[in-house]
């Protein structure tokens, strides 16, 4: 019995409705509902069992599903991902957890050389319904090895899908899509959003991977943002609208691989100006790829270079006194937008 077969009809984005959940709560609910529906789904990782995950993502699962389906593992990220690969090839639908996105580096071979390439190397004969869950993002003084946003590395590896949800609603629906997908997927929660709340339907719904969400419509400029940067961009957009009458269109790709270039380019063609915002380091970040694609596809529509608002070129500092200046925020996003609009930037 596979999840896909038992999925209720019409799982496309349900009406958000009234009920609010936290970001973490939405994830946790997706796990419960998925595991109730499909016996082949299990979760394995460090402290996911008795503790329910160090951040509480998997809280309560061990109580309901036991240690057979909610498995505390040794500290061994390579073997954790490998366990998922082998179990997936053998027909299960594993969810394996890497506590911090930074630890992707520890398991990079299993993720990028094994999971991503298996199907292709085998001439198409393998299915790999593996979901890797992890937690990224800075802003918690977790320093250089516990704060990174490494999605650009993962996006560069054919065979992976990479998902960066920006709200409780998206997190639940995208997590469902990841687990039901027959390809290796990596879904990255943002650590600073764990407590953020928003409407989340109670039923199990799925948000398709590879489809962007136009979070806000606007005629003046396109802002591509994902993960926590959507919320910061929305703040910037609100202020710019109120204070200067500038209307931003915010496009959240939601999945960065596959990337919904079509929606991004359509928006750029409409507004003629576009900036990309991400937490990751600017050099070689996803903003580069989006800028490259947009100028390829919408060259004649652009009134200004594609702007990039991102982290500067350094490891992530520990001190709040520095980290506050490292991660893009609404203020820096506003400044970047104004610059791309050719308007004066306050304080610049």
């Amino acid at each position: 019995m596979s999840a896909t077969e038992t999925a209720p009809a019409g799982t496309a984005a349900a009406d958000p409705g009234e009920r609010e959940l936290t970001y973490l709560g939405a994830f946790n609910e997706a796990m419960f509902q998925l595991m109730r529906q499909d016996e082949d789904i299990f979760v394995a990782g460090e402290d996911v069992g008795v503790q329910g995950g160090v951040f509480g993502s998997f809280k309560g699962l061990a109580e309901e599903f036991g240690d057979r389906r909610c498995v505390d593992t040794p500290i061994a990220e390579q073997a954790i991902v490998g366990l998922g690969i082998g179990a997936a090839v053998a027909g299960l639908r594993p969810v394996v957890d890497l506590m911090f996105m930074d630890f992707v580096m520890v398991a990079m071979d299993q993720i990028a050389n094994q999971a991503a390439k298996l199907k292709y190397m085998f001439g198409g004969k393998a299915e790999l319904p593996l979901t890797i869950t992890t937690n990224g993002g800075a802003g918690l003084s977790a320093a250089a090895q516990h704060s990174q946003s490494l999605e650009a590395m993962l996006c560069h590896v054919p065979g992976l899908k990479v998902v960066m949800p920006s709200s409780p609603y998206d997190l639940k629906g995208l997590m469902v899509a990841c687990v039901r997908d027959n390809n290796p997927t990596i879904i990255v929660k943002n650590k600073r959003m764990f407590g953020s709340t928003g409407p989340v339907p109670e039923e199990l719904y799925e948000i398709p991977l590879g489809v962007a969400n136009v979070v806000r419509e606007g005629a003046d400029i396109t802002v591509v943002a994902y993960g926590r940067m959507v919320e910061e961009s929305a703040k910037a957009a609100k202020r710019l609208s109120e204070e200067q009458g500038i209307e931003c269109e915010i496009v959240d790709p939601r999945t960065v691989q596959p990337l919904d270039t079509e929606t991004i380019v359509a928006s750029a063609k409409k507004t003629n100006r576009i900036v990309v915002v991400h937490e990751a380091v600017r050099f070689g970040g996803l903003g580069a790829e989006i800028a490259a694609q947009v100028q390829e596809e919408a060259f004649d529509y652009l009134d200004a270079p594609v702007g990039r608002i991102a982290a500067p070129f350094s490891p992530i500092p520990f001190s709040p006194g520095l980290e506050g200046h490292y991660v893009p925020n609404a203020k820096r996003i506003s400044a970047g937008i104004l610059e791309t609009l050719g308007r004066p930037v306050p304080g610049a």
Binding site: V71, P74, Q78, G82, L118, M121, F122, P158
Partner: protein, 324 residues
């Protein structure tokens, strides 16, 4: 535990299928008809054969860069293998994988692997699935002595031990990792000394003796099937050819005498001598088996040679599974 006559025939057949397949592949490689790297298994046939005869068909295998032997021993189709090694469209992986990624998921052979240590975690995952399902299927990880120095091996073995998974770890100790002798890279006499560090039983077996390997594997598989967790087998063996390619003698990193010494213990010759001397199988039967297999190998070479190169239109397929 005395192997039946059927088992003996099976061991012989599998060893010989590997040997003749590999020798043919080596000749093609020398003749520049085989692209890429070729890591021949010749010399080690008793290990894959002994283990795979002991296995059930539903038991899984994960393998290494030196993976042809494991696929042949698991029952691989020589024609599809030869075509794959040549990069042809009718190969196991439609030419996309080649020697280092050859696999047959229908035979539960989960793939050769180009990354040292990369395969063991995958066997552990398969073992996890077996335990999860509550069946009594076992997965087997084959790996070299050199690979026990890499992190992925350690993590995988410990994971299997900690979770008491039905996995059999089979170390083929041929005393070298590429061009580096084992004593330079580990300070232990036997690789099996590592088993105790994971809390699993370890056993040394003569890797040139298919029957001994078979018996050790039977025990390890039975233990796993009974729910008693992993076993570590160290099979002492030797590869005749160079790490890669077909050169045998005249190398800096090992002496010709050493190679010749090992060849005297050749697993197929020793096996044939033993069964004929014991009057279990006649020399005639052995010869006719050999002729049959040689014919199968020749047909495989022809199949490979006649198979077309993959069509360019397949370059970008198989990257993702399309979702409905």
């Amino acid at each position: 535990m005395e192997p039946s006559l059927e088992t003996l025939r099976d061991l012989h057949r599998r060893m010989l299928r590997i040997r003749l397949f590999e020798e043919a592949a080596g000749r093609l490689f020398e003749g520049n008809k085989m692209p890429g790297f070729l890591h021949l298994y010749v010399g080690q046939e008793a290990v894959a054969s002994g283990v795979c005869v002991a296995m059930r068909e539903d038991d899984q295998v994960s393998s290494t860069h030196r993976g042809h032997g494991h696929l042949v021993a698991k029952g691989g189709d020589l024609s599809k293998m030869m075509a794959e090694l040549m990069g042809k469209a009718d190969g196991y992986c439609n030419g996309k994988g080649g020697s280092m990624h050859i696999c047959d998921l229908d035979l539960n052979m989960l793939g050769a692997n180009g990354i040292v240590g990369g395969g063991a975690p995958i066997a552990v995952g398969a073992g996890f699935a077996n335990k999860y399902r509550g069946n009594d299927t076992v997965s087997v990880a084959f790996f070299g002595d050199g690979s026990t120095n890499i992190g992925a091996f350690h993590e995988a073995t410990n994971m299997a031990a900690a979770l008491q998974l039905p996995v059999l770890f089979v170390c083929e100790n041929n005393e070298y990792g590429e061009y580096t002798p084992r004593h330079k890279v580990m300070a232990i006499n036997d690789v099996v000394d590592r088993a105790a560090g994971y809390g699993i039983p370890g056993v040394i077996v003569d890797g040139m003796d298919a029957i001994a390997v078979y018996e050790a594997a039977m025990e390890g598989l039975a233990r796993a099937r009974a729910g008693d967790g992993p076993t570590f087998i160290e099979a002492k063996t030797y590869r005749y050819y160079n790490h890669h390619g077909v050169q045998t003698l005249g190398m800096k990193y090992r002496t010709d005498e050493e190679v010749e010494e090992w060849k005297k213990k050749d697993c197929i010759e020793a096996f044939e001598k033993r069964v004929t001397e014991a009057g279990l199988i006649t020399a005639d039967e052995l010869a006719s088996t050999r002729a049959d297999i040689q014919a199968e190998v020749d047909a495989a070479v022809e199949f490979g040679e006649n198979s077309p190169m993959p069509d360019v239109s397949t370059l970008l397929t198989d990257v993702y599974t399309e979702m409905a």
